[in-house]
Symmetry: C2
Subunit: 347 residues, 2 copies
């Protein structure tokens, strides 16, 4: 049977130190219950071969002494890390995106044994690098990532290696995988139409992502469709992306809005861009809602209270985080990826 000394501590407590309670293990419970360690392990995970009375007894003791399974032990034995990794591009910080994503994911994870680790990579680095690291070292059970591209090497790699993951954004590579996306096509369509409805005819779209990212195409498609249906003129404005420095946006906007053939309506795809846009527009001596109308997507609630004249559409990133977390968790449990694909719609 068990040796009591081994259960209660590593030796006699020194007189001048407080008796530090050892963290309880399965062995502690086994000793207290007069059972084998195996039985306790099984009882705690509700295995069918353990009697109900024993289970109750074990669970009572476990709760009383505050037993928590040692993650290192579990991980070493089973390979299960109980970690979800959020892989992020540190550059693309659309206002509040990272934080809301983190908080959304955490909300879901807080009721589970999973922890969240964040792995940012800098823009100069290969996006594959953190992914490979996680897979090679087996440091997470699931991955959440953003900046999804139509033909995304990360998606291919993870699928080949059978690692559960979910992407913020869709791909176009014929691989069914969990994702959550905002319906940017509908957003661009609706946004453009609302400008058309105000009589605007010379419309530009700004503040979208790099063309490499999938949702750039969605935006483009929705925008161009509405423009065409409305018989309006699309104004191309280069160099105002969501990753562009705000000072550059402001300057560029002022310049664009001073041209004779300036747009009279703007669809903006990000909140921080919108703020710099407004600054540029007003620096050019124009008035929002009079000379030009502005519709913008936002991922934090800043715009709402900034200029009531701006038509604001919310993309709820926190909700996206929740969806993505749910998706990876269910994928880890083996769910069909096609059931883990969701879209949110602009209202």
């Amino acid at each position: 049977m068990n040796d009591e000394a081994k259960v209660t501590g590593r030796g006699p407590a020194k007189a001048d130190e407080p008796i530090e309670a050892e963290r309880p293990t399965l062995k502690t419970i086994a000793f207290m219950a007069g059972l084998g360690v195996t039985t306790v392990s099984r009882a705690l995970k509700d295995a069918p071969e353990i009697g109900q009375a024993t289970k109750n007894r074990v669970r009572l003791i476990a709760k009383q002494i505050g037993y928590r399974p040692n993650r290192a032990g579990v991980r070493l034995r089973t390979g299960k890390t109980n970690v979800i990794s959020l892989v992020l591009n540190a550059q693309s910080e659309i206002m509040g995106l990272t934080s809301n994503m983190v908080y959304g994911i955490s909300e879901v994870l807080s009721n589970t044994p999973y922890h969240l680790t964040v792995t940012p990579y800098s823009a100069e680095n290969d996006p594959m690098q953190p992914i490979r690291y996680i897979v090679e070292t087996g440091s997470a059970d699931g991955i959440i990532m953003s900046r999804t591209e139509p033909d995304d090497p990360r998606v291919r790699y993870l699928t080949e290696h059978g690692i559960p993951f979910a992407t913020h954004g869709r791909t176009e590579m014929g691989i069914e995988h969990p994702y959550h996306d905002f319906d940017n096509e509908t957003f661009a369509d609706m946004a453009t139409k609302s400008l058309l409805a105000k009589g605007r005819r010379r419309i530009a779209m700004m503040g979208g992502p790099s063309p490499a990212v999938t949702y750039f195409r969605h935006l483009q498609r929705g925008f161009l469709r509405a423009i065409e249906e409305g018989n309006a003129t699309p104004i191309a404005v280069a160099g105002i992306d969501v990753d562009t420095a705000l000072g550059t946006i402001r300057r560029k906007t002022e310049e664009v809005m001073s041209r004779p053939n300036r747009p009279d309506g703007i669809v903006c795809c990000s909140g921080s861009t919108a703020i710099a846009l407004v600054a540029g527009i007003e620096a050019a001596g124009l008035k929002i809602g009079h000379d030009v109308d502005l519709v913008s997507k936002q991922t934090s609630d800043v715009l709402h209270w900034f200029r009531p004249e701006i038509i604001v559409v919310n993309e709820d990133i926190r909700h996206a985080g929740r969806q993505l977390a749910q998706a990876v968790l269910r994928r880890i449990e083996g769910a069909d990826p096609r059931e883990l694909q969701s879209l949110s719609y602009p209202f």
Copy 2:
């Protein structure tokens, strides 16, 4: 000696599966080098009792086969988790704070074996709860936390338990611990003085934190000192904190700025608050830089390009993240906490 089968795999690979390369362990290297596992372990950590030639040989093999220590093994044996935990209040999302903090910390951690996990807690919950969880389950080697209070129970608890940590913000409880803080007293002083220099005499301060948080006092002190020295009148405006909903701020500001005894200068302590303030001010029919002057601190670069009339002071949260990460790491190595205390200054 070692059994080759044990080193190269768990059995013959099935014909229809690709030969999945097993992840190398110390045993793999030991077998390849014709050494004992112990020797390899020691060689890799540069122990003095291993010969130089052996070290070189072992390290070469390790590098060649891409050996990475198994974290679960290390953690189980030594108790070292190689994890730093960032504990955050999910409510207090000052614009971009969370993300910049995360990125700053990651920058430092990326050159170390440490991973970053994020543990948010909701405002309704006890701030001690996540801290206790981490300590009880031993799930991190170090903790970074914010919203530091003058008499902070978390600081007391962690100090008593000897867990390395660093706080964003100072305490006033006579415990020397690592921290990084922004010199909010100087900020408030400078900000107020710059308003005085513009001839403003009726000055309010808004957008600070909850009075429970330490830096509330710093702001107050700097503000009141400058007010007194300048023989100006402080205008008290209640209910416009950094955590207040922006809609509320906007409404309240409009109301305050419509009073006959309205402030003619405002010191604002957060960027998002400033945006809502401006909206309120302009809704009241006033013009920034004419009827009222505004100085604001910001933690993202939005304000800069928003209204040039606003005097902007930057608090670099990314830098704070770097400092805090450095501090915990050095604390883990046993450095004196008094050498891990730093302040950044408004320029």
